[in-house]
């Protein structure tokens, strides 16, 4: 799209209009006043917007610094300074903006448009400033969080060294008349019962807190796992017993078989014995042989 820069034409038109107005003296005077008012207004607005812009830049810098703070990189002095400066800037900007607002409201604009325009500008600057203030507040919150975390980390690191370095309180040694010296020699110091589970105080005492519920839980869990073990063992027991039962049945059937076999064999052997020991077969056999001989004799000699 081809565009043509017609601002010069517009400028010329404005000039001609102005010259025409200049011919009417008072109007031009007012115009000038308006113009100066406008320029004053625009000048103030420009100032304020520049201030807001600068403040937001500083805010960005502050954000970076606040996010970067680690345990040992302590730029807190810088951060404090910057925070202070930003706060001052914001306050000044607020004041300027409110005064500008007053100014706009008080001075009556001839044109409705210019009035609207200035009001819009004021509103816009207000919005920008409130954004900047909100960001500033967020940054402050983030900073307090990180400070708290730093403090916690410092505590956990230096907790031991603190208790080691703190001086012991009154040391009580018990006077006793015997040669066996007192059974306890205590060096108690001001405890700090923190929430940790065990605190090592200088070489003499060790304190455990709040272990009761967890140890009970552990004991109960031990018991339940023991019972589970027992369950496993009993199941194994039952399996073994059933397998052995089958083996026993096999043995039983084998014994029955062998009993039957042996009894039959025994019977037949008895039969054989009877057969052998009885005379009948002998007599039969002898007669048979005799008859055979007789037959042979008769046949051969007949």
């Amino acid at each position: 799209m081809v565009f043509k820069d017609r601002t010069s034409e517009f400028g010329n038109l404005a000039e001609t209009l102005r010259r025409k107005q200049e011919q009417n003296g008072t109007i031009s005077h007012k115009g000038k006043k308006q113009h100066s008012q406008k320029s004053q207004f625009s000048y103030a607005a420009a100032e304020i917007s520049k201030g807001v812009f600068e403040t937001s830049e500083k805010l960005i810098k502050l954000t970076n610094m606040a996010k970067n703070t680690k345990l040992f990189m302590d730029s807190s002095a810088q951060i404090e300074e910057l925070t202070f400066i930003i706060k001052q800037d914001i306050q000044k900007l607020n004041k300027d903006l409110s005064s500008l607002d007053q100014y706009v409201k008080s001075s009556r604009q001839p044109n409705k448009q210019t009035g609207d325009h200035s009001e819009t500008i004021v509103g816009f600057l207000n919005l920008k400033l409130s954004n900047a203030t909100k960001d500033f507040k967020d940054i402050l919150e983030v900073r307090t969080e990180s400070l708290k975390q730093q403090q916690e980390k410092k505590d956990s690191f230096s907790g031991y060294s603190n208790t080691f370095s703190s001086p012991p309180g009154s040391s009580h040694e018990h006077p006793s008349g015997n040669n066996n010296s007192a059974l306890y020699k205590y060096e108690m110091e001001d405890d700090d019962n923190s929430n940790e589970h065990s605190i090592l105080m200088p070489q003499e005492l060790m304190m455990h807190t709040t272990d009761y519920s967890s140890s009970r839980l552990r004991a109960a869990e031990n018991i339940s796992s023991t019972i589970n073990q027992l369950e496993g063992i009993f199941t194994q027991l039952a399996n073994l017993v059933s397998m052995q039962g089958e083996v026993i049945e096999r043995i039983d059937s084998n014994m029955d078989d062998s009993l039957a076999n042996i009894s039959r064999g025994h019977d037949s052997l008895i039969q054989t014995l009877l057969n052998v020991s009885s005379n009948r077969s002998l007599i039969l056999k002898i007669f048979l042989v005799l008859i055979v001989f007789i037959v042979i004799f008769v046949v051969f000699f007949a």
């Binding site: 009970r216 023991t226 083996v247 062998s258 052998v276």
Partner: protein, 202 residues
């Protein structure tokens, strides 16, 4: 594993705890040591109870002499402190404390000792019995008792399983022998029948 003393104190934050009752079990110490041991125990109990916060369960161990002081302060301001050796399980000690507190409340209601400012001796016979009973934590504490019984049961059951294994082996042996026996008896039977049926002469 021994419990040396049970002490009950009235604890008011900011002041020194007031002794209400204390019982000792010092048979493990020599006769002449007992006096000083009593004093030291009282001192330790008082100090520890005084520094325990309400509702907190503290077990303070003295590493050199291997003794532990368990304390608790309940919401009514009654504190109980138990001195044991370091082997005694802390959990059982705190159970003992809880029971002692209950017993004490049964015998001496709060009104009796609330206003006391100096050490007194409110007799509570139950404490002596508890002290004796808890010398043996395994029988006194039901959880440990249960655990002990279960462990014994498991040992016995394991032995049983082992014996069952041996029985199984013997049974397998028997089964093999009976197999052999039946085979041999069959052979015997066949032999005898053959002998009987085919020929009559030996």
């Amino acid at each position: 594993m021994k419990v040396y003393s049970i002490g009950l104190f009235k604890v008011v934050p900011g002041n020194k705890p007031v002794l209400l009752n204390i019982v000792y079990e010092l048979s493990s110490f020599g006769f002449f040591q007992r006096g000083s041991v009593k004093e030291v125990s009282l001192f330790v109990s008082r100090e520890t109870v005084g520094r325990t916060n309400v509702g907190e369960r503290v077990s303070m161990e003295h590493t050199q002499t291997q003794k532990v002081c368990h304390t608790t302060v309940d919401s009514k301001g009654l504190g109980c402190s138990v001195l044991t050796d370091s082997e005694y399980p802390g959990r059982v000690a705190h159970t003992l404390i809880r029971i002692c507190l209950e017993e004490f409340y049964k015998v001496h209601p709060e009104s009796e000792w609330r206003g006391l400012q100096s050490d007194v001796e409110l007799q509570t016979p139950a404490l002596d019995q508890l002290l004796l009973k808890y010398q043996n934590p395994e029988t006194a504490d039901p959880m440990m008792n249960l655990q002990k019984n279960l462990d014994e049961t498991i040992t016995i059951v394991k032995k049983t399983v082992e014996q069952l294994g041996q029985r199984g082996e013997k049974l397998d042996d028997l089964a093999a022998k009976s197999d052999d026996l039946s085979f041999q008896s069959k052979a015997f039977m066949n032999n005898a029948e053959r002998m009987n049926k085919c020929c009559g002469y030996v």
